[in-house]
Every structure is written in structure tokens, then in C-alpha cells.
Amino acid sequence: MRVTILYFANLRERRGAASDLLDLPPGGDVAMALATIAKLHPGIAAQLPHAQVAVNLALVAATTPLSDGDELALIPPVSGGAS
């Protein structure tokens, strides 16, 4: 199956791209996706544990199973608003 990975802010800059398409074996979960990303892009591996993960716009745990076509977003610590 194939899932879309989204990067934001410092993760996007370090990855050098706003998104990736990631192929995973059937039955893969969020933890497997993160491990695959860390292997493919070692430059952001150290940051991944600090990011929350959203699948299809909702925050999820690492054990959440993925499905073909899912959108997995890596959410670094947020800071909307102003002062």
C-alpha cells in the first residue's frame, strides 16, 4: 500500500520536500512508517520522536494501522498565534 507523508516547518526544511509517497507492506502501522522514513531520510531521524502524528487529520498513536491512500502528517511542536 502507498501512503502520503506530509512534512511541515523545520521537518519540511530538513527533508527538503513538503511530502513523500511511501510504499509499505500490507498491515503496516504508524510505527513502521516512522521507521521507514527514518531509514530513507536519516537527516530528520532525530526529529521524528518529537513530532506528533496525524492520520487523515486526526492525531493517532504509533500502533494505529495504516491503509492504502492514507495521509500521514508529521506535526512538530506547534506555535500558532502571535505573542
Binding site: 523545520n10 502528517a73 506547534v78 500558532g80 498565534g81
Partner: protein
């Protein structure tokens, strides 16, 4: 429009218009403006980046929650993205309620929760460098 993530300059009018009503006597707004003095000295501009679809969903959830928690309250939130100069508004929130105490509580809750939960990031661009700001004051 109660919730919006916009690239154009923000104004209080639309969020106020989204919450007022004849049974709501108290109206509180919050505007977050880009300051000259940030984490880095002499901020020139801020760049705001959002995970837009999720940000709109989260802001909608925040407004819904607060309206459930505070009887008679109405909440609207507009957030800007893109490049903002010092003095420009990054976010406007309006909360109306029957009385002023609830309106203050609702407005404060909305901006506090936005800062904790909305997938929006900002980068300070100054004369001597740039930095992603990880949390907010």
C-alpha cells in the same frame, strides 16, 4: 465564516459579525500581532505555515468545544498564513456570550487552545538570522 485560515490580511469585522446576536451582551476579541521583539532581536517578518485542512478542523473543534462548555457562547477564529510584517495580525478571535465574564473566558480559552493544538508554525526572520519558534508566550 466562523473558522478560516487565510493568506490575506485579517480584520476584526468578520469574526465579530460571526458571533454577535441580540441575546449576547458581551463581546471579547483577541488579536495576535507580530512584534518587533521576538526570540531573535529585530524581527523583520514572520512566516506562518499551516497544515491547512487539519488546522481548519482543529479550530472548528476548539470553537465547538467552547460553545458546548459555555452556555450561550459563540466563537469565531481566523488565522493568517504566509509572510507577515511587524504589526500585522496573525490571528483574530471573537467570542460573544450573554454576559462579559463568559465572553472573556471563551475568548481566552480559544486562543490558549489554538496555541496548544492548531498545526500552525511560525518562523522569525530577523536581520541576523531566522528561527522556527517552538512554543509561544
Amino acid at each position: 465564516m466562523r473558522i478560516a485560515v487565510l493568506e490575506s490580511p485579517l480584520d476584526l469585522g468578520p469574526v465579530v459579525g460571526a458571533v454577535v446576536g441580540i441575546d449576547r451582551g458581551g463581546l471579547v476579541t483577541f488579536t495576535g500581532l507580530v512584534r518587533r521583539k521576538g526570540r531573535i532581536p529585530d524581527v523583520v517578518r514572520l512566516e506562518y505555515e499551516a497544515y491547512r485542512t487539519m488546522a481548519e478542523k482543529v479550530l472548528e473543534q476548539i470553537a465547538d468545544e467552547i460553545e458546548r462548555e459555555i452556555g450561550g457562547a459563540r466563537v469565531a477564529i481566523h488565522h493568517r498564513v504566509g509572510s507577515l510584517a511587524v504589526g500585522e495580525a496573525a490571528v483574530v478571535v471573537a467570542a460573544a456570550a450573554p454576559h462579559r465574564a463568559e465572553a472573556f473566558t471563551a475568548c481566552r480559552a480559544a486562543i490558549d487552545r489554538l496555541k496548544q493544538r492548531a498545526p500552525i508554525w511560525k518562523k522569525e526572520i530577523g536581520e541576523s538570522g531566522a528561527a522556527w519558534i517552538e512554543d509561544c508566550c
